[in-house]
């Protein structure tokens, strides 16, 4: 079935993809070049980060190239590019550490820097130690989205506010980054397991669709009269604009909301097709779903471009205050990374659709993958536990209470509980294989929500992260 559908794939679409990826890399290189020309200094943190981005993106596109052409040597080069990216990333981390005088854990920008570093390092470990050669197919897009996000987040070294001047902060955040990177790896491994375990391609289609639905639904929480409400940007202070202390000023970009609704509809179409095919028990509808994914990919790109053009600068009205206010991409990092992330997920699905057999050939056996997934979670879980404990201890020294049910805390506890559930089911009830893999994927989804979703949707004490 999968083979038959893989063969339906016209070669021209593959070429389009290569051209798109090539254009993307060229664009990044051009931007990097502009940056060097502007500052005249080569070895700065932002240039190192750009280099890391280019190498990661190169590795990512090589994996995609492998996906399109099935040439195995691409995978080897992708691994080399990952090494180069990690090297540049290490440089950026070191530069940051030196410039700021404290380990890079104090702002969400610095945390992402450490997270991406850990993720790339773990990817290489999984490649070398466990022989999961194509693991980067999933982890690198995560890293790329991370670096893209970093380009937008406020990156200047700010002195630590009093509450953050604690060794416990560093312990807490180091543990968090290590744990989250391990969770990301376990997620990638679980996906690989599902591929190797002959899970039907349409199940991945439904998953892809669900991810995009969740992303667009998240973005549409800011839907406002057909427009999209985004945070205003304070150009003078280079920060988000505030109405009053702790209350951000939102401006509405007209019409963008409808485009996002369209994106949501397109994202939901493949899932609807999947449900219909399941209900009718008729697989002949499924190719329509694949086409719908392609359509939704195009719409996602359209939404991203429209968002880039309209939110990059420009003055918009606000519902809460008179007059026009500027906004900037920097004010909406989460919307942007959501848009980029869902494009990546759709691309990955297309890659799976076209090149499943080559992937399967390169992967270790399902049983090995299952084992390594479990082992990674065995690493992640104690780290999560210690991360929460260190955070509680720090909170106790700073706010006088070790647990205050703030959203970030609560979601960290939820993550811990989900993984605890996984371990119980695996150890005592012998959950192996698919069910365990789905549980691991759920765990990572919760991790992502804790890391990004909570910051975007649920305000609380963790204001600086």
């Amino acid at each position: 079935m999968a083979r038959a559908r893989a063969e339906q794939q016209p070669a021209t679409t593959g070429m389009t993809l290569i051209v798109l990826v090539g254009l993307g890399v060229a664009f990044l290189l051009f931007m990097a070049f502009l940056n060097v020309v502007k500052t005249g200094n080569v070895l700065t943190e932002s240039n190192l980060l750009y280099a890391a981005l280019i190498f990661y993106a190169g590795a990512g596109s090589l994996y995609l190239g492998f996906g399109v052409t099935g040439t195995e040597s691409y995978v080897k080069f992708a691994s080399l590019a990952t090494w180069a990216g990690l090297l540049a990333n290490t440089g950026a981390v070191a530069h940051r550490w030196y410039a700021a005088g404290h380990p890079p854990f104090a702002s969400i920008y610095e945390m992402l820097l450490s997270f991406v570093w850990t993720l790339a390092a773990l990817t290489l470990v999984a490649e070398k130690k466990y022989g999961v050669k194509v693991i980067g197919t999933i982890t690198l897009p995560v890293a790329i989205v991370g670096v893209v996000l970093m380009q937008l987040l406020p990156s200047e070294v700010r002195p630590l506010v009093p509450a953050l001047q604690s060794t416990w902060l560093h312990v807490h955040v180091t543990l968090a980054m290590l744990a989250y990177a391990a969770c990301a790896l376990s997620f990638a491994l679980a996906m690989m397991f599902l591929i190797q375990d002959k899970v039907e391609t349409e199940t991945f289609m439904a998953g892809t669709s669900l991810f995009s639905i969740a992303t667009y639904a998240g973005i549409l929480t800011r839907f406002e009269n057909g427009g999209l409400s985004v945070v205003a940007w304070d150009t003078a202070n280079k920060s988000e604009a505030f109405l009053s202390r702790g209350v951000r000023l939102f401006v509405v970009i007209p019409d963008l909301g409808w485009l996002m609704v369209l994106g949501l509809a397109a994202a939901a179409a493949p899932f609807a097709v999947y449900l219909y095919a399941r209900l009718k028990k008729d697989d002949s509808f499924l190719p329509i779903g694949d086409r719908a994914i392609f359509v939704s990919l195009l719409l996602e790109v359209l939404a991203l471009v429209a968002f880039l053009i309209r939110a990059r600068d420009g003055q918009y009205g606000s519902l809460d205050a008179e007059g026009l206010f500027p906004t900037s991409l920097k004010a909406s990092p989460f919307i942007l990374s959501g848009l980029v992330g869902s494009i990546f997920v759709s691309l990955l699905y297309l890659m799976l659709l076209w090149r499943r057999h080559d992937l399967e050939r390169l992967l270790p056996t399902a049983e090995t993958l299952d084992q390594i997934t479990y082992k990674t979670i065995c690493i992640a879980f104690p780290l999560l536990t210690l991360m929460i404990a260190a955070g509680a201890y720090w909170a106790n020294r700073t706010w006088g209470s070790y647990w205050s049910w703030d959203p970030k805390e609560t979601w960290a506890a939820i993550t811990w509980l989900v993984y605890a559930g996984y371990l119980h089911m695996r150890i005592t009830r012998g959950w192996r294989g698919r069910r365990a893999a789905y549980f691991a994927i759920l765990g990572f989804a919760v991790v992502m929500f804790t890391f990004f979703g909570v910051t975007y949707l649920l305000p609380g004490l963790h204001a600086y992260a």
Binding site: R397, I414, V418, G421
Partner: protein, 485 residues
Amino acid sequence: MATKFGSTGRKLWQLLSSVKTGVILLMVVVITSAAGTLILQRPATEPDEIERAYSPQVLRVLDAVGLTDVFHAWWFVLMLLLVSVAIVAASVERFPNAWRYFARPYKTTDESFRRALATQKQIPLKNEESGLVAAERTLHRMGFRPERLVGEEHISLFAERNRLSEMAVYIVHASLLLIFLGGIVDGLYGWRGFVSLTQGEPVNQIAVREGSAKPLSFSVRCDGAGQENYQDGTPKRWWSKLAVLENGREVMNKEIAVNDPLVYRGVRFYQASYGMTGKMNKLLLTATPASGTGQAHDIALSLNETLQLDPDTAVQLTRFIPDYVVRDGQVYRRSEEPQNPAVQLLVKSKKLAKSVEVWLPRIPEVAQNQASPYSFSPRDLQMGYFTGLEVSHEPGQWGVWSGCVLMGIGLVVAFYLVHMRIWVVPVRGAGGDLALWVGGTANKNREVFQQKLAKLVDQIQNELKQRETESEACETKHAISMVGN
């Protein structure tokens, strides 16, 4: 009737102690706490914000079921208690078996046991004793401590490592209960409050969150507070010097800062906020004799304080106006903000037999400065500050911290320590030929253990070979010496 109750009781017990129930309970906790972060919570939001967000009907329903304060709702607490009970039940159900396994390890090797063991190998052998010795040596070299067991038919060896690993689950669960216990103790006996101290005034009552005042058996006094800034003006550090007084006697003092509280008798004081009271604390100024002869004095005055400048002259600080304005030759107080402060000094001179009022800064309409025997120039005005302190009493936190440490240890033991057991026994095969049977198990990481056992077998074989050549050499030597005789 009794049996019936017994059977429902047993069923309930089975239900509670099953892992499935535990995981389902965990997932219910997950879902409700997620709801608690998505729905606006009463303690954290302003009442009118919550009223704006939900319609009155919806809000009434949410309030009724406790969804606007999930984490303090009775059913949420009940659920956490149920989780604890499930953990206890599951542990009680499984612990005796595990303990038997832990306390009385299975060391002997009968035939059925040997047949059942998954990982095993046999080494051909000539002599029972030399086989055992070789195995012992090899095990020692690999870091085991083999013990000899004398059975009915033969002597066997048993070696193990990290037996504690079998108990790890109970360590982790016990630590979780300890954390819960700490939380419950704090929920029942702990409190949180806020106190605002102005410099020099001791306080022995704390305004508790719930609205009442909590008397303390001691009092605290602030001896100074301040803020340090970074170069760009953002705050770097807030600090307060605190003293603890018991029966009027100072028993403790500490400079606290954010992240570094003062703890006295289980009550913790945290730096929370900081600001000005609008009152002055001290004025530093220089007094120079108007005649030009004599020494200039650097003096410090607080409100209403009198200071002798020379045997004839004294100065008193009589008024402080934080924000002054002059109208019709009169000085008025415009606001309480210390934006434009002025002070009035009274200079009393015995020699001139009169008092002179001096305003600082100089106010032309009301100036009498020329008549003063001293001229004054202000150096620094120190304002009175108040410091806001969060106060908490958490008697259960030690349960929480020891629980965290114990859990860390438990998890490391659970995930990274492997309980390995190895049995060695000389056996006779069906054909009557002697062999050394080597078998083992591990409670996790089985592939690695299999490799380890294979290595062990290899090394025993090497050891045996070595011993054989040695003893052969020895025999030859013996033979030669016999011949020599």
